[in-house]
């Protein structure tokens, strides 16, 4: 208790509150603008955090930016169908459908509340079960991660689109995109005309976020062109409606919230996995829960609050989850926490076992600032919920060129200081825009491509490592119960979805 009070006294000052507020707003802006990521935001405020006299204040600033960026990404996903960053990729479908129904306000408000629930809920796990969960994640070796990636991909193929074969094929296409670039084991470049092109940015493969921006942003512009000549009636969107989803509805969704929270926290805690798997797993779990609810809940994918809630709870639960191995083992759960660990060390905090045994007041102050960060995130984003949908009042004819430029600049900015790399990213975005346009027009889902690209690298790297550890045999897979569970889940999903598809198509 003494430690807690000491921690509390470290953060109860004006400057902490001010910088947390500042960080939240900055994070939301970063999250909402495609191309500016949570990782980048955290990296950018490190110098500021370092200059703050109080370590706890600096950490509060960093955590606020991190949480805000994850939450802010839902704004463009819901309003424009473009996820601000990969965190919001599963929010797009239902968010867009709700906007089309004129429920933009409720979707945005719901997303914020879901994010707060996810952030605060996962923090409870972080505070009470951190060492336990950290130990659990150690059980995830190469073989286990391979099967986890498999489950992730199968789920995405199952939840997006009406035909699981098309989903799986798009996932495979994503894998193929992921295979360009370096061989993940030896680091040798694996591209066509390697001798000629090895000095070009292609040697590092396609940038994941540029691909995302291309598939969702640029392709949107291409797809909208035929709609431009219609009269511009977006009035339905201007009717914001209530921003607070009815409390009773949230109460009914308690199962979805709990499952998303658990999935987000656990997946977030496994190093090298990240939010993009978690959000789809959460959505899939939510679909199952809705099926079982006998019509009390609406099914994700039909433009309902459930479909926004599940991924938005999960992606903010990932923030708490990713902090678990970061703080207790010093191992980052995702790229943003990697930068965060660096920032903590600069601020004089060495993550790892020693942190919990030697510096409990600081740990408490960190938990308190994380709470503040999550609350501010919610408050500031809710404050703007009535304002953001105004963007929909802008005519599509004006908005689409701006979306195109924003996609270009966003993918360019990801490259850092190199102009060539930046332009290569813009090229990637344009190319993926064409791919996305062609696929969308023909009824193929886009999300599996992005996930394939994200998971393809991880899948190949871990699969080959697992094979090598087993000296060329599948022994590492066979001997692991976790692998068996994941494998059986994958098979079950493929079979059940195919049967369901067949039945629905047969109708």
């Amino acid at each position: 208790m003494g430690d807690f009070l000491q921690g509390l006294s470290m953060v109860t000052n004006f400057s902490t509150v001010f910088w947390c507020a500042f960080g939240s707003v900055l994070g939301i802006i970063l999250g909402a603008l495609p191309g500016l990521t949570a990782t980048m935001g955290v990296a950018l405020v490190i110098p500021v955090s370092y200059n703050l006299s109080n370590t706890a204040t600096g950490i509060g600033l960093l955590l606020s930016v991190y949480c805000g960026a994850v939450c802010g990404a839902s704004i463009p996903a819901i309003l424009l169908g473009i996820p601000g960053n990969p965190n919001a990729i599963a929010t797009v479908e239902d968010g867009q459908l709700m906007t089309r129904k004129g429920l933009a306000g409720q979707a945005l408000g719901g997303a914020v509340i879901a994010s707060m629930i996810g952030g605060l809920g996962s923090e409870i796990f972080l505070i009470f079960f951190s060492p336990l969960i950290a130990r659990m994640t150690l059980a995830f070796g190469p073989a286990e991660k391979t099967t986890l990636a498999l489950v992730g991909l199968v789920i995405i193929a199952a939840v997006s689109g009406k035909n699981i074969l098309k989903g799986l094929l798009m996932g495979a296409l994503g894998f193929v995109f992921a295979f360009f670039g370096k061989d993940p084991v030896s680091g040798i470049v694996r591209i066509p005309f390697a001798d000629l092109l090895r000095q070009t940015p292609l040697a590092n493969g396609f940038d994941m976020t540029s691909t995302l921006i291309g598939l969702y942003g640029v392709s949107q512009v291409f797809s909208e062109i035929p709609n431009l000549k219609k009269t511009q009636d977006r009035v339905v969107a201007a009717n914001i409606g209530s921003v607070f989803p009815p409390l009773r509805k949230i109460g009914q969704m308690w199962k979805i919230i709990l499952s998303s929270l658990g999935i987000g926290t656990l997946v977030g805690a496994i190093p090298g996995t990240g939010a993009s798997i978690a959000v789809f797993m959460a959505k899939n779990a939510a679909t199952g829960i809705c099926d079982a609810s006998k019509g009390k809940l609406e099914k994700p994918g039909t433009g309902c609050l459930e479909g926004v809630f599940a991924p938005e709870v999960a992606n903010n639960a990932v923030t708490g989850g990713a902090l678990i191995p970061a703080l207790s083992l010093g191992i980052p759960g995702d790229s943003a926490t990697a930068v965060l660990i660096g920032a903590l060390m600069i601020n004089g905090v060495t993550p790892g076992f020693a942190l919990f045994s030697q510096n409990m007041p600081l740990v408490y102050s960190l938990f308190i600032t994380l709470t503040i960060a999550n609350i501010f995130m919610g408050v500031f984003q809710l404050a703007g919920v009535k304002v953001y949908p105004k963007v929909l009042l802008i005519s599509q004819r004006l908005l689409m060129p701006i979306v195109l430029i924003l996609s270009f600049i966003g993918s360019y900015a990801l490259a850092g200081s190199s102009v060539e790399k930046g332009l290569f990213n813009v090229g990637t975005a344009l190319f993926m825009g064409l791919v996305g346009y062609a696929m969308k027009k023909n009824g193929y889902p886009l999300a599996p491509i992005v996930l394939g690209l994200i998971l393809g690298g991880m899948f190949e790297e871990q699969f080959r490592k697992a094979m090598k550890l087993g000296a060329g045999t599948m022994s590492r897979f066979v001997s692991s119960p976790i692998c068996w569970v994941f494998f059986l889940i994958s098979v079950a999903i493929v079979v059940s979805t195919s049967v369901k598809n067949r039945r629905e198509n047969g109708k």
Binding site: L169, D183, I188, I225, L406, L423, G433
Partner: protein
């Protein structure tokens, strides 16, 4: 053109999968060679699996699905191609011409083309508007850049210490651009609209505000090295 009996996309993808298989087959093995125990299936294993899966998957769809015979409108196709070409040119010339000029041209022309769908377009009017937009944007650019640099210099010299960090100067730049946007839309744009040049005025002011806003946010706040080109100050 003769009516095709199969859908184009799955057919193309089937062919591409086959080509990908050949490419993987022809490329070199990229696994580690210093490996004494072995066990790594190598860098070609999964690409093979994916190529085979995609080939048969898309082949199945090609054989099963039939085209629905929808046709695209010629005007839409032109607009699509123009957008695509402008995108390609934007990438090709970014390094030479730089962010400012190219973004103004791309944004202005697209907004003009998109907003005038189904209306009569006037090339002369559009070009004049574009030239004015570009010059005004460049002029304001020089102005706020000059102010930012001046403030930063004063910050470094300790005369105005609050501007030691370039972020403070960026805030001032943002205020300048916001001011000009309001000013221009109330004066020049209003006059142009009164004379019936609605489309040009809209495209111009939106382009001006968007480009400079993006410049300040990405370059001055977040220090992204935007392609400099020949207008760089």
């Amino acid at each position: 053109m003769k009516k095709l009996k199969v859908k184009m996309l799955p057919l193309v993808m089937t062919v591409l999968s086959a080509l990908y298989f050949i490419y993987v087959f022809a490329s070199e093995e990229t696994a580690m060679n210093a490996d004494s125990v072995g066990g790594d299936p190598g860098g070609k294993f999964l690409p093979y699996v994916m190529a085979v899966f995609m080939f048969f998957g898309f082949l199945y769809i090609t054989l099963k699905e039939r085209p629905d015979g929808k046709k695209t409108d010629a005007g839409d196709r032109n607009l699509f191609l123009i957008t695509l070409c402008e995108g390609v040119l934007y990438i090709a010339f970014s390094k030479v011409a730089g962010f400012l000029i190219l973004t103004v041209i791309l944004l202005y022309s697209l907004i003009y083309l998109y907003t005038t769908i189904g209306e009569k377009r006037s090339a002369k009017q559009a070009c004049a508007g574009g030239a004015v937009t570009l010059s005004v944007t460049v002029a304001v650019y020089f102005l706020f850049r000059y102010v930012s640099k001046l403030l930063m210099r004063l910050g470094r010299q300790g005369i105005l210490p609050m501007f030691k960090s370039s972020t403070a100067a960026a805030v001032v730049a943002l205020v300048i651009v916001a001011g000009f946007t309001v000013l221009l839309s109330l004066t020049v744009c209003r006059k142009l609209k009164a004379k019936g040049f609605n489309r040009v005025a809209d495209a111009g002011i939106v382009t001006f505000a968007t480009v400079l806003f993006l410049y300040i946010v990405f370059k001055q706040f977040f220090l992204v090295a935007l392609a400099p080109g020949f207008i760089n100050y």
